[in-house]
Protein backbone atom coordinates (compact mmCIF):
# COMPACT_ATOMS: atom_id res chain seq x y z
CA UNK A 1 0.00 0.00 0.00
CA UNK A 2 3.03 2.19 0.20
CA UNK A 3 2.64 3.97 -3.09
CA UNK A 4 -1.14 3.97 -3.14
CA UNK A 5 -1.98 5.46 0.23
CA UNK A 6 1.36 7.11 0.97
CA UNK A 7 1.13 6.44 4.69
CA UNK A 8 4.06 4.03 5.11
CA UNK A 9 7.76 3.81 4.36
CA UNK A 10 7.52 0.45 2.58
CA UNK A 11 10.38 -0.93 4.63
CA UNK A 12 12.74 1.26 2.59
CA UNK A 13 15.31 3.46 4.27
CA UNK A 14 13.95 7.00 4.56
CA UNK A 15 10.86 5.88 2.64
CA UNK A 16 8.66 8.14 4.74
CA UNK A 17 10.72 11.18 3.76
CA UNK A 18 10.70 10.26 0.09
CA UNK A 19 6.94 9.79 0.04
CA UNK A 20 6.45 13.07 1.89
CA UNK A 21 8.52 14.82 -0.79
CA UNK A 22 6.63 13.13 -3.64
CA UNK A 23 3.31 14.17 -2.13
CA UNK A 24 4.51 17.72 -1.61
CA UNK A 25 6.04 18.27 -5.03
CA UNK A 26 2.71 17.44 -6.67
CA UNK A 27 0.79 19.49 -4.13
CA UNK A 28 0.20 23.19 -3.62
CA UNK A 29 1.60 23.74 -0.14
CA UNK A 30 4.91 25.56 -0.48
CA UNK A 31 5.63 25.41 3.22
CA UNK A 32 5.19 21.64 3.30
CA UNK A 33 7.36 21.22 0.20
CA UNK A 34 10.15 23.27 1.76
CA UNK A 35 9.93 21.19 4.92
CA UNK A 36 9.96 17.94 2.96
CA UNK A 37 12.99 19.16 1.03
CA UNK A 38 14.90 20.13 4.14
CA UNK A 39 14.07 16.84 5.82
CA UNK A 40 15.66 14.86 2.98
CA UNK A 41 18.69 17.13 2.78
CA UNK A 42 19.28 16.80 6.53
CA UNK A 43 18.76 13.05 6.78
CA UNK A 44 20.08 11.83 3.43
CA UNK A 45 22.25 14.67 2.09
CA UNK A 46 22.09 17.17 -0.73
CA UNK A 47 22.86 14.76 -3.60
CA UNK A 48 20.04 12.51 -2.42
CA UNK A 49 17.66 15.46 -2.44
CA UNK A 50 18.51 16.52 -5.97
CA UNK A 51 18.34 12.94 -7.27
CA UNK A 52 14.96 12.51 -5.54
CA UNK A 53 13.73 15.68 -7.22
CA UNK A 54 15.03 14.44 -10.57
CA UNK A 55 13.18 11.12 -10.32
CA UNK A 56 9.95 12.71 -9.07
CA UNK A 57 10.01 15.27 -11.86
CA UNK A 58 10.79 12.71 -14.54
CA UNK A 59 7.91 10.47 -13.53
CA UNK A 60 5.53 13.42 -13.36
CA UNK A 61 6.35 13.84 -17.04
CA UNK A 62 6.54 10.22 -18.15
CA UNK A 63 3.11 9.48 -16.67
CA UNK A 64 1.73 12.06 -19.07
CA UNK A 65 3.44 10.45 -22.05
CA UNK A 66 1.95 7.08 -21.14
CA UNK A 67 -1.54 8.36 -20.41
CA UNK A 68 -1.86 10.69 -23.42
CA UNK A 69 -0.68 8.19 -26.03
CA UNK A 70 -2.74 5.27 -24.75
CA UNK A 71 0.06 2.73 -24.57
CA UNK A 72 -0.93 -0.46 -22.73
CA UNK A 73 1.19 -2.15 -20.11
CA UNK A 74 3.35 -4.88 -21.63
CA UNK A 75 1.68 -8.31 -21.35
CA UNK A 76 4.56 -9.81 -19.39
CA UNK A 77 4.56 -6.96 -16.88
CA UNK A 78 0.78 -7.09 -16.53
CA UNK A 79 0.89 -10.81 -15.78
CA UNK A 80 3.80 -10.54 -13.39
CA UNK A 81 2.25 -7.69 -11.42
CA UNK A 82 -1.45 -8.61 -11.52
CA UNK A 83 -1.64 -9.61 -7.87
CA UNK A 84 -0.10 -6.57 -6.30
CA UNK A 85 -1.66 -4.14 -8.79
CA UNK A 86 -5.01 -5.41 -7.57
CA UNK A 87 -3.89 -5.33 -3.95
CA UNK A 88 -2.68 -1.73 -3.96
CA UNK A 89 -5.63 -0.44 -5.94
CA UNK A 90 -4.03 0.40 -9.30
CA UNK A 91 -6.81 -1.48 -11.08
CA UNK A 92 -9.30 1.00 -9.65
CA UNK A 93 -7.66 4.01 -11.32
CA UNK A 94 -9.83 5.64 -13.95
CA UNK A 95 -7.29 4.92 -16.66
CA UNK A 96 -7.27 1.19 -15.95
CA UNK A 97 -10.31 0.62 -18.12
CA UNK A 98 -8.82 2.73 -20.90
CA UNK A 99 -5.49 0.96 -21.07
CA UNK A 100 -6.59 -2.59 -20.46
CA UNK A 101 -4.67 -2.94 -17.21
Amino acid sequence: MVTADGAHDGGIAHGDLLIRFANAVLGNDGVELAAAREAIAEAMGGPALTDTAAVAALFNAIDRVADSTGIPLEDAKATATADFRAAIGVDRFAAAGEKGA
Binding site: A13, H14, L18, I19, V25, G70
Partner: protein, 248 residues
Protein backbone atom coordinates in the same frame (compact mmCIF):
# COMPACT_ATOMS: atom_id res chain seq x y z
CA UNK B 1 19.15 32.60 -24.58
CA UNK B 2 18.54 31.25 -21.11
CA UNK B 3 21.32 28.87 -20.08
CA UNK B 4 20.10 26.57 -17.35
CA UNK B 5 22.42 26.30 -14.36
CA UNK B 6 21.89 24.92 -10.86
CA UNK B 7 25.13 26.22 -9.37
CA UNK B 8 23.21 28.67 -7.19
CA UNK B 9 21.56 25.83 -5.27
CA UNK B 10 22.72 24.77 -1.83
CA UNK B 11 22.69 21.14 -2.97
CA UNK B 12 24.74 19.64 -5.83
CA UNK B 13 22.97 18.70 -9.04
CA UNK B 14 24.72 16.11 -11.20
CA UNK B 15 26.33 17.72 -14.25
CA UNK B 16 24.57 15.31 -16.58
CA UNK B 17 21.18 16.49 -15.29
CA UNK B 18 22.08 20.12 -15.87
CA UNK B 19 23.41 19.34 -19.35
CA UNK B 20 20.31 17.34 -20.27
CA UNK B 21 18.14 20.27 -19.19
CA UNK B 22 20.24 22.64 -21.27
CA UNK B 23 19.82 20.41 -24.33
CA UNK B 24 16.08 20.15 -23.73
CA UNK B 25 15.73 23.94 -23.53
CA UNK B 26 17.65 24.39 -26.76
CA UNK B 27 15.46 21.79 -28.52
CA UNK B 28 12.37 23.53 -27.24
CA UNK B 29 13.22 26.67 -29.18
CA UNK B 30 14.08 24.98 -32.47
CA UNK B 31 11.68 23.93 -35.24
CA UNK B 32 10.59 20.38 -34.54
CA UNK B 33 9.17 17.73 -36.82
CA UNK B 34 5.66 19.18 -36.99
CA UNK B 35 5.74 22.40 -34.94
CA UNK B 36 7.78 25.56 -35.46
CA UNK B 37 10.00 26.81 -32.67
CA UNK B 38 7.40 29.46 -31.85
CA UNK B 39 4.65 26.83 -31.70
CA UNK B 40 6.72 24.59 -29.44
CA UNK B 41 7.28 27.48 -27.07
CA UNK B 42 3.57 28.34 -27.20
CA UNK B 43 2.81 24.76 -26.12
CA UNK B 44 5.27 25.03 -23.23
CA UNK B 45 3.83 28.37 -22.13
CA UNK B 46 0.28 27.02 -22.34
CA UNK B 47 1.26 23.97 -20.29
CA UNK B 48 2.45 26.27 -17.54
CA UNK B 49 -0.62 28.50 -17.84
CA UNK B 50 -2.93 25.48 -17.46
CA UNK B 51 -2.05 25.21 -13.79
CA UNK B 52 -4.05 28.38 -13.12
CA UNK B 53 -7.00 27.58 -15.40
CA UNK B 54 -10.33 27.73 -13.47
CA UNK B 55 -12.02 25.29 -15.85
CA UNK B 56 -9.25 22.75 -15.34
CA UNK B 57 -9.59 23.14 -11.59
CA UNK B 58 -13.36 22.58 -11.69
CA UNK B 59 -12.87 19.53 -13.90
CA UNK B 60 -10.18 18.16 -11.62
CA UNK B 61 -12.55 18.46 -8.67
CA UNK B 62 -15.50 16.88 -10.51
CA UNK B 63 -16.43 13.22 -10.40
CA UNK B 64 -16.01 13.22 -14.19
CA UNK B 65 -14.23 15.94 -16.16
CA UNK B 66 -16.80 15.57 -18.94
CA UNK B 67 -19.68 16.94 -16.90
CA UNK B 68 -18.04 20.34 -16.47
CA UNK B 69 -18.48 22.72 -19.39
CA UNK B 70 -16.80 26.02 -20.08
CA UNK B 71 -13.82 27.61 -21.77
CA UNK B 72 -10.21 27.28 -20.80
CA UNK B 73 -8.30 30.34 -19.65
CA UNK B 74 -5.67 30.31 -22.38
CA UNK B 75 -2.85 32.52 -23.62
CA UNK B 76 -4.54 32.79 -27.02
CA UNK B 77 -1.70 31.60 -29.22
CA UNK B 78 -3.13 28.15 -30.03
CA UNK B 79 -6.42 26.70 -31.23
CA UNK B 80 -9.14 25.68 -28.79
CA UNK B 81 -8.48 22.00 -29.52
CA UNK B 82 -4.76 22.40 -28.88
CA UNK B 83 -5.48 24.22 -25.63
CA UNK B 84 -7.82 21.41 -24.58
CA UNK B 85 -5.09 18.86 -25.34
CA UNK B 86 -2.44 20.72 -23.39
CA UNK B 87 -4.57 21.63 -20.39
CA UNK B 88 -6.06 18.16 -19.92
CA UNK B 89 -2.70 16.41 -20.20
CA UNK B 90 -1.08 18.90 -17.83
CA UNK B 91 -3.78 19.02 -15.15
CA UNK B 92 -5.63 15.67 -15.17
CA UNK B 93 -3.61 13.01 -17.01
CA UNK B 94 -5.14 10.06 -15.18
CA UNK B 95 -8.55 10.62 -16.77
CA UNK B 96 -7.60 10.92 -20.43
CA UNK B 97 -9.63 8.60 -22.63
CA UNK B 98 -9.47 7.29 -26.15
CA UNK B 99 -12.78 9.04 -26.91
CA UNK B 100 -11.24 12.32 -25.78
CA UNK B 101 -8.26 11.73 -28.07
CA UNK B 102 -10.51 10.88 -31.00
CA UNK B 103 -12.50 14.05 -30.32
CA UNK B 104 -9.36 16.12 -30.67
CA UNK B 105 -8.57 14.36 -33.93
CA UNK B 106 -12.06 15.19 -35.23
CA UNK B 107 -11.51 18.80 -34.14
CA UNK B 108 -8.57 18.96 -36.51
CA UNK B 109 -5.46 18.07 -34.55
CA UNK B 110 -3.15 15.95 -36.68
CA UNK B 111 -1.78 12.88 -34.98
CA UNK B 112 1.80 13.97 -35.61
CA UNK B 113 1.23 17.42 -34.06
CA UNK B 114 -0.56 15.74 -31.17
CA UNK B 115 2.45 13.53 -30.44
CA UNK B 116 4.97 16.34 -30.75
CA UNK B 117 2.85 18.43 -28.39
CA UNK B 118 2.94 15.56 -25.88
CA UNK B 119 6.72 15.61 -26.14
CA UNK B 120 6.94 19.34 -25.50
CA UNK B 121 4.62 19.07 -22.50
CA UNK B 122 6.67 16.19 -21.10
CA UNK B 123 9.97 18.06 -21.39
CA UNK B 124 8.46 21.16 -19.80
CA UNK B 125 6.90 19.20 -16.93
CA UNK B 126 10.12 17.28 -16.24
CA UNK B 127 12.17 20.44 -15.88
CA UNK B 128 9.53 22.64 -14.21
CA UNK B 129 8.77 19.96 -11.60
CA UNK B 130 12.47 19.54 -10.88
CA UNK B 131 12.76 23.28 -10.26
CA UNK B 132 9.66 23.31 -8.08
CA UNK B 133 10.99 20.44 -6.03
CA UNK B 134 14.19 22.32 -5.30
CA UNK B 135 12.49 25.64 -4.59
CA UNK B 136 13.42 27.35 -7.84
CA UNK B 137 11.07 29.34 -10.10
CA UNK B 138 10.52 27.92 -13.60
CA UNK B 139 13.20 28.84 -16.10
CA UNK B 140 12.25 31.61 -18.56
CA UNK B 141 11.38 30.08 -21.91
CA UNK B 142 13.99 30.64 -24.62
CA UNK B 143 13.56 32.72 -27.75
CA UNK B 144 12.15 30.84 -30.74
CA UNK B 145 14.56 29.98 -33.52
CA UNK B 146 13.39 30.53 -37.11
CA UNK B 147 12.76 27.74 -39.58
CA UNK B 148 10.17 25.25 -40.67
CA UNK B 149 9.42 21.81 -39.21
CA UNK B 150 10.78 18.83 -41.13
CA UNK B 151 7.31 17.21 -41.43
CA UNK B 152 8.90 13.80 -41.58
CA UNK B 153 6.78 10.82 -40.51
CA UNK B 154 8.18 7.29 -40.21
CA UNK B 155 6.82 5.45 -43.23
CA UNK B 156 6.37 2.23 -41.25
CA UNK B 157 4.34 3.72 -38.38
CA UNK B 158 1.16 1.79 -37.69
CA UNK B 159 -1.90 1.72 -35.43
CA UNK B 160 -1.11 -1.52 -33.64
CA UNK B 161 -0.08 -0.51 -30.13
CA UNK B 162 -1.64 2.67 -28.77
CA UNK B 163 -4.21 5.39 -29.47
CA UNK B 164 -1.58 7.13 -31.57
CA UNK B 165 0.34 5.46 -34.39
CA UNK B 166 3.73 4.10 -33.35
CA UNK B 167 6.80 2.68 -35.04
CA UNK B 168 7.42 -0.88 -33.87
CA UNK B 169 11.08 -1.90 -33.47
CA UNK B 170 10.72 -4.70 -36.00
CA UNK B 171 9.21 -2.29 -38.53
CA UNK B 172 12.03 0.20 -38.12
CA UNK B 173 14.66 -2.24 -39.35
CA UNK B 174 16.10 -1.10 -42.67
CA UNK B 175 14.29 2.26 -42.60
CA UNK B 176 15.55 5.80 -42.05
CA UNK B 177 14.43 5.44 -38.42
CA UNK B 178 16.38 2.27 -37.61
CA UNK B 179 18.61 4.27 -35.27
CA UNK B 180 15.67 4.86 -32.93
CA UNK B 181 15.97 1.33 -31.61
CA UNK B 182 19.65 0.79 -32.42
CA UNK B 183 18.91 -2.67 -33.75
CA UNK B 184 17.09 -3.87 -30.64
CA UNK B 185 14.24 -6.27 -31.54
CA UNK B 186 11.98 -5.05 -28.76
CA UNK B 187 11.44 -1.90 -26.74
CA UNK B 188 9.30 -0.94 -23.77
CA UNK B 189 5.95 0.50 -24.77
CA UNK B 190 6.83 3.79 -23.10
CA UNK B 191 9.80 4.09 -25.46
CA UNK B 192 7.54 3.43 -28.45
CA UNK B 193 4.80 5.84 -27.26
CA UNK B 194 6.01 8.91 -29.18
CA UNK B 195 7.78 7.04 -31.99
CA UNK B 196 5.52 8.65 -34.60
CA UNK B 197 7.84 11.63 -34.03
CA UNK B 198 11.24 10.00 -33.46
CA UNK B 199 12.94 13.24 -32.47
CA UNK B 200 10.59 13.55 -29.50
CA UNK B 201 11.55 10.07 -28.31
CA UNK B 202 15.24 10.90 -28.53
CA UNK B 203 14.79 14.25 -26.82
CA UNK B 204 12.63 13.01 -23.96
CA UNK B 205 14.73 9.94 -23.30
CA UNK B 206 17.76 12.16 -22.93
CA UNK B 207 15.97 13.37 -19.79
CA UNK B 208 14.94 9.84 -18.79
CA UNK B 209 18.50 8.52 -18.90
CA UNK B 210 19.85 11.38 -16.84
CA UNK B 211 17.07 12.12 -14.35
CA UNK B 212 16.18 8.44 -13.81
CA UNK B 213 18.48 5.65 -14.99
CA UNK B 214 19.97 4.28 -18.22
CA UNK B 215 18.51 0.90 -19.28
CA UNK B 216 21.51 -1.15 -18.22
CA UNK B 217 21.31 0.30 -14.71
CA UNK B 218 17.62 -0.34 -14.11
CA UNK B 219 17.98 -4.01 -13.26
CA UNK B 220 21.60 -3.94 -12.09
CA UNK B 221 20.86 -4.36 -8.42
CA UNK B 222 24.50 -5.13 -7.60
CA UNK B 223 25.43 -1.52 -8.19
CA UNK B 224 23.95 1.86 -7.36
CA UNK B 225 24.14 4.74 -9.81
CA UNK B 226 22.52 7.59 -7.91
CA UNK B 227 22.59 9.12 -4.44
CA UNK B 228 19.38 7.21 -3.73
CA UNK B 229 19.28 3.45 -4.27
CA UNK B 230 17.13 1.39 -6.62
CA UNK B 231 14.43 0.79 -4.02
CA UNK B 232 14.27 4.46 -3.10
CA UNK B 233 14.13 5.48 -6.77
CA UNK B 234 11.25 3.13 -7.46
CA UNK B 235 9.44 4.24 -4.32
CA UNK B 236 9.50 7.85 -5.49
CA UNK B 237 8.55 6.88 -9.04
CA UNK B 238 5.71 4.68 -7.82
CA UNK B 239 4.32 7.30 -5.48
CA UNK B 240 4.34 9.98 -8.17
CA UNK B 241 2.61 7.62 -10.61
CA UNK B 242 0.01 6.68 -7.98
CA UNK B 243 -0.74 10.35 -7.35
CA UNK B 244 -1.13 10.85 -11.09
CA UNK B 245 -3.30 7.69 -11.25
CA UNK B 246 -1.09 6.34 -14.00
CA UNK B 247 -1.63 2.64 -14.65
CA UNK B 248 1.35 2.11 -16.93
Amino acid sequence: MTEISYQQLAWPVRDEVTQAHQRSWRRLARPGSWLTGAERLAVAAEARHALDCPLCQRRKDALSPRIVEGEHDSLGALSAAEVEQIHHIRTDPGRLTRDWYEGLRQAGIGEERYVETVGVIANTVAIDTFCKGLGLPPWPLPEAEPGEPSRRRPAAASHRLAWVPTLAPEDAVGTDDADLYAGRPTAAHIYQAMSLVPEEVKGFFDLVLNQYLPPQAMADFDNEYRAINHAQIELVAGRISALNQCVY
